[in-house]
């Protein structure tokens, strides 16, 4: 591999020059950078062990099937699981179509340069002149005139607009999640008038993951060689046919992988949900039907964990730890699916 670290010192020609004992400074540096890795790994191990220790005893089947309760001995995680399921369905339903469409546009159509846009505009103009010469008139001709005007205008403003959209998306991906919460509260709850519900929460999470879905989908589309598309177009396909029937099917495993990873981020988010819906739990069992989402209060795994952690009693801390185990298991499963998809369908071109 080209990126491999060269091991010049190991090769036979250099070996005689190498000192037999490493200098203290070298050994010290080696130890220092190695310990940086080991510290990070051991913190992860510490985290895992301490959570399993405090949550393992509480993690029973009843814990998964019992609804929420203010009494620690009877409280379960079922409401939170149901809420998170609906949130994921809503996020998926909004983020996939919008994210994939935006990625396809930005990767395959926005990259068209000014010259090519201009030549398309001239071609349209020629056809307009032909029609005028033929004497075909009426509405079609008016429409065509507008089309030619638009094509010329777009050849001027198109490339900078597309670039601005790209910069904007990468900036959005770095906006703190709690800001999305404020957006969701103002738009979905205050402006549109939704309840402080799963629907408002799911839509907020969809906006949150949208830039991540777009960025990762674009990478998957970019990995498909241009020759595939060019081959299709050489056989007479239009650009859209080449993209929709050749490029997208080849890229879909990669796009889904990125989307699942984005969803796993949404699953663990709590800050935007708190801002949109608060942490006020009812006692009802939330419906898993996405159509009822606007009438269902905001339940979610991380919210439930936050609520339990926030209470002083030790019993609730154990419940929180058990909830964290469930959340982490779900996250690991989602990551495993993503890795499986990538391994099974990824192609080297």
């Amino acid at each position: 591999m080209a990126t491999d670290v060269p091991r010049v010192a190991d090769s036979a020609a250099v070996r005689p020059l190498r000192r037999k004992r490493p200098r203290p400074a070298d050994a010290l540096f080696h130890a220092a950078v190695l310990s940086a890795v080991l510290i990070a790994l051991s913190v992860l191990a510490w985290l895992g062990v301490s959570i399993v220790q405090s949550g393992w005893a509480t993690l029973t089947w009843d814990f998964l099937t019992d609804p929420v309760s203010s009494r620690a001995s009877r409280a379960g995680f079922n409401s939170a699981l149901r809420g998170s399921l609906v949130l994921m369905l809503l996020t998926f339903a909004v983020a996939i179509p919008v994210g994939f469409a935006a990625a396809i546009y930005l990767e395959k159509f926005a990259a068209i340069g000014r010259e090519q846009l201009l030549s398309t505009a001239y071609a349209r103009q020629r056809r307009l002149h032909e029609m005028e010469a033929d004497g075909t008139g009426g509405a079609a001709l008016v429409l065509r005139r507008v089309g030619v005007r638009a094509a010329f205008a777009w050849s001027r403003i198109g490339p900078p607009v597309n670039r601005a959209v790209e910069v904007n998306i990468s900036n959005l991906a770095a906006v703190p999640s709690i800001i999305y919460g404020l957006l969701g509260l103002a738009i979905f709850v205050t402006f549109i008038g939704l309840q402080k519900s799963l629907l408002a929460g799911g839509l907020t999470l969809a906006l949150l993951v949208l830039p991540i879905v777009i960025i990762s989908s674009r990478e998957a589309l970019r990995a498909v060689p241009v020759s595939i598309e060019q081959g299709a177009m050489a056989l007479g396909a239009t650009r859209w046919q080449a993209v929709s029937r050749q490029v997208v099917p080849a890229a879909i495993p990669g796009m889904l992988t990125g989307t699942i990873l984005a969803m796993s981020r949404a699953l663990g988010e709590s800050a935007p949900l708190i801002v949109v819906g608060g942490v006020a739990f009812g006692t009802q069992v939330p419906s898993v039907n996405p159509l009822d989402a606007n009438e269902t209060p905001l339940f979610a795994m991380p919210l439930q964990i936050f609520d339990w952690t926030d209470r002083p009693q030790e019993a609730f801390q154990e419940l929180a730890a058990a909830g964290i185990i469930v959340l982490l298991v779900v996250l690991v499963l989602m990551n495993a699916v993503a890795i499986f998809l990538r391994a099974k369908y990824s192609r080297r071109w």
């Binding site: 940086a36 906006v175 981020r265 708190i274 801002v275 964290i324 996250l331």
Partner: protein, 309 residues
């Protein structure tokens, strides 16, 4: 080859025209999806400003930015304590994460064997994808007691900026190490070979050749880490507490901008009340601060990309 078509080419041309109209519509729809992302940005700016504006009818902008007492109950809105708390935690997190992250990056890019790297990198990324609520719980249940055991924190003190800063540092370490390692691996092999050729050891190559060559990428990673630390919410809310104290001692409990937004959202602030508008007002500050940090990171990345192709 079929030769049934009378005039060659007539059919395909007709079909192409009809198809192209449909494609224009499809292209417009795809473009509209891309525009959604712009609408999100506009939406963020517009909602922050319109929902936050009434706040500045009650509190003067200068008092808001420079005031040192944050007591919403008494109508005292000076956001210095929140801002300083956010900066304290980002600072502590940076002090924890920069040596760990860059050290790990150097090890993984220069020292580690390929199998080791292949195993360790995904594990570190697991840490990066950890929900922050989990890290908050970890800070409360494990880090704070450990700090009490070694005598850094007094017994019985549950919340401290120190513990929150450490856990946020743990959170951004894999982010910094992963991006820095990418930058280091992008340094051309010939530069390393040149240094090895004149007798440099691995340490010298790492610190004098690879690190300087990858510096703008490493800086971008650090800056993105800082931005993430400033915007971090749940770990900070749980571990640093909810008392807006202006303090120079990181062992004190503090309330960050993000933790304040959570604290108000948890309760029922009615729309239009000063408390409700205040979360949008501090949201503006948070948005501006993180945006400024991100723009710095973008500059670093751009410079880094132009040096080596």
């Amino acid at each position: 080859m079929t030769t049934t078509a009378g005039t060659p080419g007539a059919g395909p041309v007709l079909r192409r025209r009809r198809r192209r109209l449909g494609e224009q519509v499809i292209l417009l729809l795809l473009g509209a999806a891309a525009v959604v992302s712009v609408l999100v940005t506009i939406g963020i700016v517009v909602t922050l400003v319109t929902e936050g504006a009434p706040f500045f009818a009650d509190v003067s902008f200068i008092d808001f930015l420079t005031g040192t007492v944050w007591q919403p109950v008494n109508g005292s809105y000076g956001m210095m304590p929140l801002l300083i708390a956010s900066l304290w935690i980002a600072g502590i997190a940076t002090v924890v994460a920069v040596p760990l992250g860059i050290g790990a990056a150097i090890y993984l890019s220069e020292y580690a064997t390929e199998p080791f790297r292949k195993v360790v990198k995904p594990i570190l990324e697991l840490l990066a994808g950890m929900p922050t609520i989990v890290l908050g719980f970890f800070a409360l249940e494990s880090i704070t007691p450990a700090l009490q055991d070694i005598g850094v924190l007094p017994d019985g003190q549950l919340f401290s900026a120190l513990s929150a800063g450490i856990v946020v540092g743990i959170l951004i370490t894999p982010l910094i190490s992963s991006l820095s390692e990418d930058a280091m691996r992008a340094v051309p092999r010939a530069m390393r070979e040149g240094a090895y050729g004149v007798g440099a050891t691995k340490r010298v190559v790492s610190t004098r050749v690879v690190l300087p060559a990858a510096l703008s990428g490493v800086m971008a990673a650090v800056v993105l880490g800082v931005s993430r630390a400033v915007g971090e919410t749940m770990a900070v809310t749980l571990a640093a507490g909810t008392q807006p104290i202006l303090s120079g001692d990181p062992r004190d409990p503090m309330q960050t901008i993000t933790a304040y937004i959570v604290a108000i959202s948890k309760g029922e602030a009615t729309r239009g009340s000063t408390q409700y508008t205040s979360i949008f007002a501090v949201g503006i500050v948070l948005f501006v601060v993180t945006l400024a940090i991100n723009l710095v990171a973008v500059r670093f990345v751009r410079r880094f990309r132009t040096v080596y192709q």
